[in-house]
């Protein structure tokens, strides 16, 4: 499929160092943070939209599969080139093109690392709210293509809520521009939203206009423990129901806390059945008032202990446990599956109980973590992918967890995406007509199924 003359054309286009084709180099682009691996036939690292469009044209003319890649931190296998072909990695398109605080937008290339953008915004008193756990390395392009969320999305919303516009290279090689620099814009279909969460199956995003926001005056954080997990979850839906909107409400069960404590020795209470990390932000006065009400509510639900952070260093300490949950479980693994089912907030207590029940029934030791304030569950399941018996049990449990979310009117993924991990389960939550509609769009845009083939459409 891939001959030398095509390779030579790519080299002429992009330069020798930006075209990789040895087995050693390809091995470095076969994975993301999920379990599967598949070697591409060639990897290209373009530096401009023109170069991207030229590569797409070659792929289109020769009917070669093409999979986009940002930093490769997807936890669902989204950037894995299962049909081989070309991997087009955006890491070298990493320029912040414009920051405009007056009009509150930033224009970035897709390879800009989320954390690097934050570092540029902070001195100006601004920030870009979506904060996936991979913030220090994942790219804005990857964040958009997976519509990433994060702890503070409870209050601020997910990636899509911050995308004003974008430039896209279509499978035909044509370049289109969607949206604009305007906060309000109803000129035609809101097509940029279609590309949020499209996982590279419709087009390659080569430029993004993002909405940015002034930093809040201050923030307050509290770590609360409970003797009962059900009460922990109920406290969450009670707080949300009472009209307070914290920045984040992160729930960790006792197994999660114990494993984190074993690794990091932070002095966490390993006896507590449930732990909540709650943060509010705004003016000092609102923070004080809201925190007061939150403390009341958690006490109503039998809080065992409350630890409040006064300085930003202390806040960092409280957040540390939450931030390290994923890697700590990855180490137990050696591999890890992070599930991502999401249910309406009032169903959180019931769903957590259900997940625990399913895990126990299959004798699986996993932590339960949740962005509880927005109903997003993250069971952290350490696995050894070479252990077929264990993998069978785990896959069975995951299937049951998905099925359990359905009667709660939940959904398969809150933020990690579908990728390879969940493609087969789509019919659980999307009916035939809806899936057919997605296929119609995909076929119209990418008739030869060249962009990220083998995934959910």
């Amino acid at each position: 499929m891939f001959n030398n003359s095509l390779k030579d054309r790519l080299i002429t286009l992009l330069g020798r160092e930006n075209v990789l084709d040895s087995i050693e180099e390809l091995s470095c682009y076969a994975y993301d943070s999920f379990l599967e691996e598949s070697l591409p036939e060639i990897v290209v690292l373009p530096k401009s939209t023109t170069e991207v469009a030229a590569v797409v044209e070659i792929a289109a003319t020769n009917k070669i599969a093409l999979t986009a890649r940002g930093a490769g931190t997807s936890v669902c296998g989204a950037p894995i080139p299962v049909k081989r072909g070309i991997v087009l990695c955006f890491s070298k398109m990493n320029k912040v093109l414009e920051i405009n605080t007056r009009d509150r937008y930033a224009v970035v290339e897709p390879g800009v690392i989320n954390g690097d953008l934050q570092k540029k915004l902070a001195p100006l008193g601004f920030f870009y709210p979506p904060d996936p756990g991979s913030i220090m390395i994942s790219t804005i392009g990857g964040n958009v293509a997976l519509n990433a969320g994060g702890p503070r999305c409870l209050k601020y919303g997910v990636t899509m809520d911050y995308v004003l516009g974008m430039e896209v290279v279509l499978p035909s090689g044509k370049i289109i521009n969607l949206g604009s620099k305007n906060i309000k814009d109803v000129t035609g279909y809101k097509l940029s939203a279609l590309f949020c969460g499209s996982e590279g199956t419709l087009g390659l995003i080569t430029k993004i206009i993002l909405r940015i926001t002034p930093q809040p005056e201050t923030a307050r954080t509290v770590l609360v423990t409970f003797a009962d997990l059900d009460n922990t979850a109920k406290a969450v839906s009670e707080i949300i129901g009472s009209g307070i909107l914290p920045v984040a409400m992160e729930l960790m069960d006792s197994i999660t806390i114990r494993e984190i404590e074993n690794t990091l020795n932070l002095g966490l209470d390993t006896e507590a059945a449930g732990t909540l990390l709650i943060e509010v932000d705004g003016t000092a006065e609102t923070c004080r008032r809201e925190m007061g009400r939150i403390v009341e509510k958690v006490n109503d639900y039998g809080a065992l202990s409350l630890q409040e952070a006064a300085t930003s260093a202390e806040r960092e300490e409280l957040w540390k446990a939450r931030r390290f949950a994923y890697p700590v479980f990855a180490k137990i693994g050696p591999d890890i599956i992070t599930e991502d089912v999401t249910v309406p907030i009032s169903k959180v207590p019931a769903m957590i109980a259900k997940i625990r029940e399913i895990l126990n029934a299959h004798d699986i030791r996993a932590g339960i973590l949740a962005h509880a304030g927005d109903g997003n569950m993250h069971p952290l399941i350490p696995v050894d992918k070479s252990d077929t018996e264990q993998m069978k049990r785990v896959n069975q449990a995951i299937e049951e967890i998905f099925a359990a979310a359905v009667p709660f009117e939940g959904t398969l993924s809150g933020e990690h995406g579908i990728g390879l991990a969940k493609a087969e389960f789509l019919p659980l939550v999307l009916d035939d007509n809806t899936r057919e509609f997605m296929s119609v769009i995909k076929k119209a845009v990418d008739p030869d199924n060249l962009f990220n083939p083998g995934k959910f459409v």
Partner: protein, 415 residues
């Protein structure tokens, strides 16, 4: 070529890597090359697929593994406790078996393996330095660094300039052993004299064991584990003993090697490592030693007021294994310390890295130099001799910030 299925001999465990990507965020080489193949995660993956026999040893594989500063930042930041450092070291040895190092690196290993050879080479070089025409020194380069910008060698080795044992200047508080390292012994005698001055000023008797050898890290990085073992045993023989309160190092890389690498090297060779562990517990870098005893320093107010303003570069091995000396500069209020915004970032020196991969080193050093100059300071302090050579050498003409070890600067402020 070797049959891939034989690669299991490498037997390097890589299986705790969950591929989270955290290490990409801290890898200086990745930050310049922006290509996954230059990342710690990829190196770990390559070692894994090599061990599984899916790829064979090749010059490219060797390059992908070695295009690394061995700065330890990936290991220090990996939440899954992947030991990149040891895995890289083993893999380097494995690759060097099949694909020899370039001649200059082999020459270096030959020299560092024997203190005698090193001394001889240094004295020959000293003569050379004296007679080398200036034009020649300008033209020839080591990596990006013109020979003319390399520091002069000590006129005599540092250890031959000082006594084996130096008594404290005031009330005696204890005894320490001093591991001087190759750089202080042959290049930066100023660092050695300053370290001695600080220690004796604080009331310590300083013993410099005569038979000490190169710490061995260059040998380990370049696959010469057998030669390294001989040096390690020699060092253990002169540093393992009762009596001394601490073993002082002035070079963070020597320090991290003495602290963390001796036991594993001995264990890999099937030898006992209890002596190495005893040494490991006593190793401390001079600035941390000073930091923990700041009240013993008498700073002369007038000298401090007259002193230049300083900025600081934290060497990777100090930040990842010990603690950067910025805390000392911050706590001595009389010092005018102007932090650079990226004082914690890597400078790209990395042992012989700046010589082997000058294009990457130049970018890393360029960023640092820019920010250090922006700080407005008049002098740049750093604890590591390679950082010092790299950051001094990579400065282009025009404004040039001088560099020295923080111990040298602080020693000038004493009463």
């Amino acid at each position: 070529m070797k049959n891939p299925s034989e690669n299991t001999s490498a037997n390097v465990s890589t299986n705790t890597c969950g591929k989270c990507g955290f290490c990409l965020a801290v890898c200086p080489v990745y930050s310049v090359l922006l290509d996954e193949k230059a990342s710690p995660r990829a190196r770990i993956q390559l070692i894994k697929v090599f061990s599984e026999g899916k790829i064979s040893s090749s010059p490219l594989l060797k390059e992908l593994i070695s295009k690394c500063l061995m700065c330890g930042s990936c290991t220090a930041n990996c939440p899954s406790e992947v030991d990149h450092y040891s895995q890289f070291m083993k893999m380097r040895s494995e690759m060097i078996k099949d694909h020899a190092e370039p001649i200059e690196i082999r020459g270096l290993i030959y020299l560092l393996a024997r203190e005698q050879r090193l001394k001889m080479a240094a004295s020959l070089a000293r003569v050379g330095q004296g007679i080398l025409p200036k034009a020649f020194a300008e033209k020839y380069q080591l990596g990006n660094i013109a020979l003319s910008k390399l520091p002069d060698l000590n006129s005599r080795t540092f250890r031959s300039q000082v006594k084996k044992e130096t008594a404290p200047s005031g009330k005696e508080r204890g005894t320490v052993l001093y591991f001087t390292g190759c750089a202080t012994n042959h290049v930066f005698e100023q660092t050695g004299h300053a370290t001695l001055k600080l220690l004796t000023h604080m009331g310590y008797r300083v013993i410099i064991p005569a038979k000490q050898a190169c710490c061995s890290i260059p040998l380990l990085f370049h696959g010469a584990e057998k030669q390294a073992r001989e040096n390690i045993l020699a060092n253990i023989a002169c540093f393992d003993g009762e009596g001394a309160e601490a073993i002082i190092v002035d070079c963070p890389t020597c320090g991290s090697t003495l602290k963390n690498e001796y036991s594993p090297v001995l264990e890999r060779a099937g030898k006992r490592s209890d002596s190495a562990q005893r040494i490991s517990r006593k190793i401390v870098d001079i600035m941390s030693f000073v930091h923990d005893r700041l009240e013993l320093l008498s700073i002369d107010r007038n000298k401090a007021d007259a002193a230049v303003s300083v900025t600081y570069h934290a060497p990777c091995h100090l930040k990842n294994v010990f603690t950067p000396s910025a805390r000392v500069l911050q706590q001595i209020k009389a010092i005018q310390y102007l932090p650079a915004e990226d004082s914690q970032e890597c400078c790209g020196g990395g042992g012989t890295f700046f010589y082997e991969y000058p294009e990457v080193a130049a970018v890393l050093a360029g960023r640092k130099i820019n920010n250090a100059q922006k700080s407005g300071a008049e002098l740049w302090l750093t604890d590591c001799p390679v950082c010092r050579i790299n950051l001094a050498g990579q400065q282009r003409d025009g404004k040039h910030l001088g560099l020295c070890h923080p111990a040298e600067f602080i020693a000038t402020l004493l009463e």
